[in-house]
Amino acid sequence: MPVIYYVILSSLLFCIGLYGVLTRKNAVAILLCIEIMLNAANLNIIAFSRCWPEPARGTIFVLFVIGLAAAEAAVGLAIIISYYRKSEAIDLDNINLLKW
């Protein structure tokens, strides 16, 4: 299959993730949308890597991105929980202490 199909798919996924990030209010849902965006990029890299004589480079790139996403999710969840502990809410509408 030509690579353009994969690129279109991953771009769609990326846009879905971005849309979710911009519209969702729940902190955990936003985290999931960010994961979707990261995985869209992963898909893109893997698809592109098949077009080149040395696909291992792309594969390793993706492995590192996966590790990075895991680290980010771990710290992110910890931060969300730490916030939830005091405010009892993970709705981002309530996060309005700091503005302007």
């Binding site: 690579v3 690129v7 991953s10 990326f14 993730g17 971005l18 990030v21 902190a27 936003i30 985290l31 960010i34 965006m37 990261l38 869209a40 990029a41 992963n42 893109n44 890299i45 698809a47 592109f48 890597s49 077009c51 080149w52 004589p53 040395e54 480079r57 792309g58 390793i60 790139f61 590192f64 991105v65 990075l68 680290a71 980010e72 710290v75 992110g76 931060i79 969300i80 730490s82 916030y83 005091k86 405010s87 996060i95 202490l97 700091l98 503005k99 302007w100």
Partner: protein, 497 residues
């Protein structure tokens, strides 16, 4: 042994230091924590010495070409280490006074500093990504370090979301660059984009533009350029003050250095898209946003946050100037002279660190609000005087280092005959005088509301403050030696031939 690996010594020292601090904290859990702070400070100094010993103007590409140690990266690393060590000095007293998890604070600062050093000399997409995220993730934790302070948590949450989104956007941009060229090394990508090796599709404009915009957005989040600047004031206000200083100085400088290397290496040689037009518009809007929003601020940390956005605007203007100068003169050499930006970054680091040192010292007595600085000239003439000098410097008034920085940026713009941009930048500087001098006005001309007692100085923070003060004035008065140094820090474009 691999011969080039010794060049990694400054980074390795910092990493070892951070691990050692965690280890000591586990084994001897009843140790006085400020010793760990001194240990962290010592490791930054050792790292600096290693950098100094290994420093040379030659370009080394080590670790399979993914790590570039050249004049530019060594200069930036020196700046970052100075900033980091000064911030550790600030934070020893601050952390000791009231923070949980004291040891981890220093370990995180060291880890973050290490990843910044990696960031400024990484020349591979994977390494850039990892270092970029490492800086971000340690900063998320540092920002939320006041766990009982609602503002700190909220800042941490906001910073995390913005940072995570920026990382995702950055990876997407990298994926397009990788797909187009089949390489992850930025020098090889530059060669491929310059037409020396085959690309995925011959007409690369669309894919390259996607990569350029997405990568620019990802970096833009880190340094706070216009459409992505929203997080800066919130995070700066909510974070513990030494962490605010760290973010505004070290993190931002590392981001700017990364942006410089990446854009000047990847998107210059025979690259058909003239991105400086986009950057020109962004830099103007960034300047105006920062300066206009700063006027109405009452919280001094928030005001400095907006002012740092404005400073990013000037830096971007400088980048535009350098790039345009190259285009107009048809320069095709192998190196790029980015000394105006480096001088500006140095100025920014010294004066901002100084301002934050004063804020940290007076925080307990006055709080963060600008009106509460009223009558500071009577309560502490020393701090008031110093803060005045730093505000002068931030506004870019001679004989301070801030003036030298602005002078070189504007000079570069005049060289590139960007007169409109110069005029706009000067207008912005004039706007900025208002809100910087508002602080001075409150300190000198408004009497204090109630009789308050004087200040108690922490010796270490005072030392750091004096160092920043000396740097601000000394380089401002006799900048020649320093400019010589900055002129040697060149970015090599076409290292791999």
């Amino acid at each position: 042994m691999n011969t080039g690996l010794i060049r990694l010594l400054p980074e390795l020292v910092l990493c070892f230091g951070a691990l050692l601090i965690i280890f000591i904290d586990i084994i001897y859990s009843d140790i006085k924590k400020y010793w760990l702070g001194f240990l962290a400070y010592g490791f930054t100094i050792i790292s600096f010495i290693c950098l100094f010993i290994l420093g040379s103007n030659k370009t080394w590409l080590i670790v399979q070409g993914s790590y570039a140690v050249d004049g530019f990266s060594i200069f930036c690393k020196a700046l970052l280490l100075i900033a980091g060590s000064v911030i550790i000095l600030f934070s020893i007293a601050y952390v000791y006074r009231g923070m949980e998890y004291k040891a981890e604070f220093f370990a995180l600062i060291l880890f973050s500093l290490m990843s910044m050093l990696v960031l400024v000399s990484s020349a591979d997409l994977i390494l850039i990504l990892l270092a970029f995220e490492f800086v971000s993730i340690s900063s998320y934790i540092l920002v939320g370090y006041h766990r009982d302070d609602m503002k700190s948590r909220e800042a941490s949450l906001k910073y995390f979301f913005y940072g995570a989104i920026s990382a995702a956007i950055l990876v997407m941009g990298f994926s397009f660059l990788y797909g187009l060229t089949g390489e992850t090394n930025i020098y090889l990508i530059a060669r491929a984009l310059g037409g020396k090796t085959q690309l995925l599709i011959p007409d690369y404009t669309l894919l390259a533009l996607l990569g350029l915009v997405l990568v620019g957005a990802g970096f833009g989040f880190k340094i706070g350029m216009f459409p992505f600047q929203m997080w800066i004031p919130d995070v700066y206000e909510g974070a513990p003050t030494p962490v605010t200083a760290f973010l505004s100085v070290a993190s931002k400088s590392a981001g700017v250095a990364l942006l410089l290397r990446f854009f000047f290496v990847v998107f210059t040689n025979n690259f058909s898209i003239n991105w400086s037009i986009i950057l020109l518009v962004i830099s103007i809007i960034t300047m105006f946003t920062g300066n206009l929003m700063a006027i109405s601020q009452n919280n001094i940390k928030r005001m400095l946050g907006y002012s740092s956005i404005a400073h990013v605007g000037y830096i971007l203007a400088g980048i535009v100037g350098i790039y345009h100068y190259k285009i107009t003169t048809g320069y095709t050499g192998a190196t790029f002279d980015v000394s105006p930006i480096l001088i500006y970054l140095t100025a920014y680091i010294y004066m901002n660190l100084g301002a934050f040192a004063v804020i940290i010292l007076s925080e307990d007595m006055t709080g963060d609000n600008i009106p509460s600085y009223a009558g500071m000239s009577q309560r502490s003439p020393l701090l008031a005087g110093m803060l005045t000098i730093f505000m002068l410097s931030l506004a870019g008034i001679p004989p301070t280092i801030g003036f030298i920085g602005k002078f070189f940026i504007f000079g570069e713009l005049v060289n590139a005959s960007h007169y409109l941009l110069v005029i706009l930048a000067v207008i912005n500087s004039i706007i900025s005088v208002y809100y910087y001098f508002r602080v001075v006005y409150f300190m000198y001309f408004v009497p204090p509301e109630t009789e308050k007692k004087g200040f108690s100085y922490s010796l270490l923070t005072m030392g750091a403050l004096w160092a920043c003060f000396a740097g601000t004035l000394f380089i401002g008065i006799s900048p020649n030696l320093f400019i010589e140094l900055a002129k040697k820090a060149l970015i090599g474009i076409d290292i791999i031939r």
